[in-house]
């Protein structure tokens, strides 16, 4: 076969070192008489070296935590199953409570009910993620721009992670959560003492325009929640007073409505 005509494929196989000895020699002899083709093949090799030189360093980088997490879905699945269980329970309670409300107070505003349901979900998310030591967030504050862009894309609305340094909290990072009508963004903040507050943000049906701050206590978790244009917000904490949480909620609101 070594006397078969040299093809374009042969030249690439030669540049890639994939030819057997006989064929390699045939290609070399062919190239020796053709300086331009020879230069072209040399460029292909330089290109390969360039690619290896440029990207092989990635192999030595530590694998980010979120990628290692991607291969531990069993654990996550259990966690999500637990959260989902709470959701189902929450919906069941909501249905019963809603039905009772309907019996006694037929005029209850649907927006308020939706808000209360959001506060409940936000509280569950808070108790689920805020005690996490190693994996409190999916994407850390060191990649804030990416985090915000990602969550904005998934929610289909431009989000911002408010800056809360003035009230003593800095961004830890955030994650994407499943909500009952679509993806939910979850931002976590922490003060110097390690106390955490979480901001739960979801898109709202167009009918729910705007509400004032509302307050709710879900077990040990205090939640301020409100709806502003297309987004619903719920700020949760289990560790700070209602007054302090209100200050943070106010700061969030001011930041998002300058």
């Amino acid at each position: 076969m070594s006397d078969a005509p040299i093809t374009e494929a042969d030249l690439h196989a030669y540049a890639d070192g994939r030819l057997d000895e006989a064929r390699r020699q045939a290609v070399e002899a062919w190239l020796a008489a053709r300086p331009e083709e020879s230069e072209r093949v040399a460029d292909y090799r330089r290109l390969t070296d360039g690619l290896r030189g440029a990207y092989d360093t990635v192999l030595d980088e530590p694998v980010p935590e979120r990628l290692r997490q991607a291969l531990r879905p069993r654990l996550q699945l259990r966690r999500f199953a637990a959260v989902a269980g709470w959701f189902v329970l929450g919906i069941a309670i909501g249905v019963v409570a809603g039905w009772q409300l309907h019996e006694t107070r037929p005029a209850a505003a649907p927006a308020a009910d939706a808000g209360a349901a959001m506060a409940y979900r936000a509280a569950i998310a808070h108790v689920t993620y805020s005690p996490e030591v190693r994996h409190p967030v999916e994407v850390g504050a060191d990649q804030e721009a990416h985090l915000v862009a990602w969550l904005s894309k998934r929610l289909g609305a431009p989000l911002r992670a408010p800056k809360l340094e003035d009230v003593g909290y800095s961004l830890v990072g955030g994650r994407l959560l499943p909500g009952d009508s679509g993806p939910v963004a979850h931002f976590m903040y922490q003060c110097k003492q390690g106390t955490r507050v979480t901001l739960y943000v979801r898109t709202e049906a167009a009918s729910n325009r705007e509400t004032a701050f509302r307050y709710s206590e879900e077990g040990k978790v205090r939640v301020f929640y409100w709806i502003d244009r297309k987004l619903g917000y719920a700020l949760s904490s289990a560790d700070i007073s209602k007054d302090d949480l209100f200050k943070v909620a106010n700061a969030v609101y001011q930041q998002l409505n300058p």
């Binding site: 494929a9 690439h12 460029d43 290109l47 690619l51 192999l59 980088e61 291969l71």
Partner: protein
């Protein structure tokens, strides 16, 4: 269990390929994350005894193609792609940034072939299997990808020479 361990071992290679394919680190890791999650969920479809690496890169290729397709309506990359004018004043190695730009200008099916051959050092048959295309197509895409990158490199070298002469 064995497959899971292999997925962990292959993760750095997925990251290398993804970085070369999409350029920036965060987007590349998003691609790897989607790939790993999908591979993990679909692991029951992997046939034991076949090449897990090829299977994994097949998953990544499909995820990438879907992501590119989904992103296209808002993707202005091609319009805003700057000319390849910046080059290191000395040194003959291509800058990573130049390579990122050059690869971004290749059609996705060509860059996939090029990167599997050069970075992953897959045989042409493995590339054909991984991408689900005939081997003749592998060779023609490899050839086109290399010719385009080479033209860009030569264009840059010519531009650099002009500057020096001037």
């Amino acid at each position: 269990m064995n497959e899971a361990q292999r997925l962990v071992e292959l993760t750095p290679r997925l990251r290398r390929y993804a970085r070369a394919l999409v350029g920036d680190r965060a987007t590349a890791d998003d691609l790897v994350q989607d790939t790993l999650e999908r591979a993990w969920a679909k692991l029951h479809l992997y046939r034991r005894g076949t090449d897990l690496r090829a299977w994994l890169f097949t998953v990544m290729h499909n995820v990438h193609v879907n992501r590119v397709r989904a992103a296209r309506p808002t993707d202005t990359l091609e319009d805003e792609m700057p000319e390849l004018a910046q080059r290191a004043p000395q040194g003959d190695g291509l800058l990573v940034r130049d390579l990122d730009r050059a690869i971004a200008r290749l059609p996705a099916e060509q860059s996939a072939v090029l990167l599997l051959v050069t970075l992953e050092e897959m045989s042409y048959e493995e590339v054909a299997r991984t991408l689900g295309i005939p081997i003749g197509t592998v060779m023609s895409r490899l050839s086109r990808a290399r010719e385009k990158l080479r033209a860009m490199m030569l264009g840059q070298a010519a531009a650099a020479k002009l500057k020096l002469v001037k």
